[in-house]
């Protein structure tokens, strides 16, 4: 292969003037992690609400939640980011649109919210599946004990449902991390974007991408181990679920 390898490139000063190329990639990894964490909080919050709404005995809640899930699931993530970033500010009243455009770190907030909402539809499907996996008697028992619907969900259904869906939620979290890389299209300098700019500055394509690959694998490994630990922590003794 006629390619000039140069693994020392990571220790050379980057054109940003604040450290070497390795620091540059690390700062990208930090942006990836921060963006993914905020996106995940949004995805969990909205996903739980919409997932519960899909199981409620109300036609309106059901219809709204179904429309929500279909909307966010059937449009590619990249198109959704463009909608939030380029289209929404134009459709809002002038003042609000200007405020959105002038937001500091607009690319970061757009990616965090865009990926968060996109993933919330997937989380909602998992939450719904978790609730539906519980025996119907559990909800009825809650009602028979005089709990309100909200209390039944809070104390009976959701604690079990979330334990059931912890493994699929782990992979949804990993997907959230991976999806933040789409933010590079609107100028977010996350890990993939950083590897790409390092490649443009140095022409050392494969060193840059290898480093980014290893960093992604490392982040993945940490998440997988952390979630295993969480699964063990919250497991209910004597229950097959959540082990």
């Amino acid at each position: 292969m006629s390619y000039n390898w140069n693994w020392g490139i990571f220790w050379e000063a980057s054109p940003e003037g604040t450290g070497n190329y390795f620091d540059m990639l690390l700062s990208g990894a930090r942006w990836t992690i921060v963006t993914a964490l905020i996106a995940w909080i949004i995805a969990l919050t909205f996903g739980a609400l919409i997932g519960v709404a899909r199981t409620l005995p109300s036609k309106w809640a059901n219809g709204f939640a179904t429309a929500y899930v279909e909307f966010f699931r059937n449009i590619p993530i990249l198109v959704q980011l463009f909608l939030w970033y380029f289209v929404l500010p134009e459709l809002l009243p002038r003042a609000a649109g200007m405020w959105m455009k002038q937001l500091p770190n607009a690319a970061f907030w757009t990616t965090a919210f865009g990926v968060g909402l996109y993933m919330s539809a997937r989380v909602a499907e998992q939450v719904r599946a978790g609730i539906n996996a519980l025996p119907r008697g559990q909800g009825m028992a809650g009602k028979a004990l005089g709990l309100t619907t909200a209390q039944t969900y809070r104390y009976v259904l959701l604690p079990m449902a979330f334990r059931i869906i912890l493994p699929p939620l782990t992979s949804e979290f990993l997907n959230t991390i991976k999806n933040t890389s789409v933010g590079l299209t609107i100028g977010l300098l996350e890990l993939t974007g950083r590897a790409r700019s390092m490649q443009e500055f140095t022409f050392q394509v494969f060193e840059a991408f290898t480093a980014a690959t290893l960093l992604y694998l490392l982040i993945n490994a940490v998440v997988v181990v952390g979630m295993r630990f969480l699964e063990m922590r919250v497991a209910i003794p004597g229950h097959s679920v959540g082990k």
Binding site: S2, I75, V79
Partner: protein
């Protein structure tokens, strides 16, 4: 809000959007699905093989690719494929590879990792006794797979395979990062040329939604049918 909405720009660019853009997107989706399913099935067979090194290679391949963002993988292959081409053909310089070929190879290899997990589940859903019965009848391994296991595995996994194809269809929009004219790329080029971002991106969203939604409905009906049959 919609007072300045310009429908005409969409109307004028329809031929470009569909004959250039959507054709690329659909071709890429169909060919990458076909390639991904074939390669994915082979990977699944390797993964389930009793020959340990084969199984390790397949596991490493699909686990690594599944932990990386598609955008990074697109960049990887975009730069790697010319060198692989050079290595295969023994040319003196990295091979020039067209945008479509590069995207097709990337998506086939990437989606194979996901299809292999689906096919693995499909193969494992067939009771082991069937394979034993096949061997007892004197079938070889490949005959067993060809006539007994794989046809059933495909049928059981068809809804999941199709759902993955819808995801692949949406994922192809990410070739945007290589400035390729797929459907989104075409919409984006017109949007930037005419300063009509609102119209073009909304239109692109509507079209992607319509296609994905219609396909996912179809899959749901198929799922209901196969569920009864079993």
């Amino acid at each position: 809000m919609f007072a300045t909405f310009d429908f005409d720009v969409i109307w004028r660019s329809l031929p470009y959007l569909f004959f250039d853009g959507m054709r690329f997107t659909l071709m890429l989706t169909l060919l990458a699905t076909a390639g991904g399913v074939i390669l994915g099935t082979l990977l699944a067979l390797m993964r389930l093989s009793s020959i340990k090194p084969l199984s390790w290679i397949a596991a490493a391949y699909s686990n690594t690719l599944r932990s990386l963002p598609l955008v990074l993988v697109i960049f990887w292959f975009y730069f790697l494929i010319p060198y692989i081409g050079q290595w295969i053909t023994g040319a003196s310089r990295p091979m020039a590879v067209g945008a479509f070929t590069s995207a097709l190879v990337t998506f086939t290899l990437f989606e194979a990792a996901y299809f292999s997990e689906i096919m693995r589940a499909g193969i494992q859903s067939i009771p082991r006794g069937q394979q034993s019965a096949g061997y007892a009848l004197g079938l070889t391994y490949w005959q067993n797979m060809r006539y007994v296991v794989l046809p059933q595995a495909f049928r059981n996994m068809l809804p999941v395979l199709l759902t993955q194809t819808i995801i692949l269809f949406q994922d192809t929009s990410l070739v945007y990062v290589l400035s390729i004219t797929d459907f989104l790329g075409a919409a984006s080029k017109i949007a930037q040329r005419d300063g009509r971002l609102v119209e073009m991106y909304l239109f692109a969203a509507v079209i992607y939604f319509a296609i994905s939604f219609a396909l996912s409905r179809l899959v749901k009906r198929l799922q209901a049918r196969t569920a009864i049959a079993r």
